[in-house]
Symmetry: C2
């Protein structure tokens, strides 16, 4: 007899994710699962996004980290409801962890819920949590070959944000190569170049976000 532990884990996860998804549908929330390597700029992106969508979209954030509440603290400064999940040793968020945060959020008052995953280019991509889209950040200093080396992350993501584009002149990062590598893994992936440091590309990102929100809620939402 063979016990496939991982398969059981994933099936249980998918059931909880489906329940989360149903709740988000009822509440007219667009839900994004935001992933990247450590330090690629997930929290910075949320700070910059908060500034830009103020008065247009109401954000909510669930942040996963091994330790510390630093990221939720940073986001709370923008008067955005933010819940920190500290995972201890877990290297990713799963549907159950996200589910445990939901009773503490007023989902009726949120248009876009962003789930900021643990910084990790591998494991988070294996778990759905009830999101509409997985999106990911590749930062320029990480290198242009990353889609080939960590394919699942790029395969599962609807959008790749290439962040720290302001540093490109100091690195050997090849933008054309990075895009070609990502599209080799996922021909349908959207790609936007951004800099949270100087603001480049952030309007395009916010426009992507607004479009996806309106596509999902069809005007039935709150915004």
């Amino acid at each position: 007899m063979k016990i496939n532990v991982m398969q059981d884990v994933l099936q249980a996860n998918d059931r909880i994710a489906a329940a989360n998804r149903q709740l988000f549908k009822e509440k007219h929330n667009l839900v994004l699962n935001l992933m990247s390597s450590p330090g690629a700029g997930k929290t910075s992106l949320l700070e910059k996004t908060a500034e830009r969508v103020a008065g247009k979209l109401r954000l909510g954030v669930i942040v996963g980290d091994i330790e510390t509440t630093r990221d939720a603290d940073r986001i709370s400064k923008f008067n955005i409801p933010a819940i920190q999940l500290t995972t201890g040793t877990e290297c990713h968020l799963d549907a159950n962890m996200v589910s445990s945060a939901l009773p503490h959020m007023e989902l009726d008052k949120i248009d876009v819920l962003v789930i900021e995953n643990v910084g990790n280019l591998v494991c988070p991509a294996e778990f759905i949590v009830g999101e509409d889209f997985k999106i990911m950040i590749l930062s320029v200093p990480e290198g242009d070959e990353k889609p080939l080396k960590y394919p699942l992350m790029f395969h599962e993501s609807a959008l790749m944000l290439i962040n720290k584009i302001d540093l490109i002149q100091y690195t050997n990062f090849n933008l054309k190569e990075a895009k070609a590598n990502a599209r080799k893994i996922n021909p349908n992936i959207d790609i936007i170049e951004i800099s949270c440091a100087n603001g480049a590309g952030l309007d395009e990102w916010v426009s992507w976000l607004m479009t996806k929100y309106h596509d999902k809620t069809g005007g039935a939402g709150h915004a």
Copy 2:
């Protein structure tokens, strides 16, 4: 009855790691388990190290990646024996994976064996593979708070290399803060600032490596 799967996995891993360690001792190999986030510079460090220790230390490398043989290909150009382990979906190397590579290496002809782990700041730190030391790279663009957010990695490492120090002027990375954060987690951690781009600090790193090699082999080794 409670079945603690993770505990069983770790115990089995530790038995294989002990066997690896015994073999490395017989062969007079200093063995380093090199870890970092994706794109922090593990392979670049090995390239620069190979140039600097040529004629003094004989390197061998085992590289773990989810996909591709790019890193082993890069290292092989320096006439260094390099074996690529592609892990599929596994987010870390374990002792058994390393063990599977050893029959393919002439350990008698290697002084320092570097095991370049999968790019991941979380999971690799949980597994010993038979190494003498875990060492890790934090790259400047990742941010100075990473030791607090990913404590196990910093706790387990004997050495933190702060790479891409040449980029520091273009970021808000605070060097003093980064060191203090690492020492808060691990008071005994050695810290060396380096740049694989301009060569800064690499002599100090090679000196650390030579010292650890001679400490272990006491002149009984090959070099």
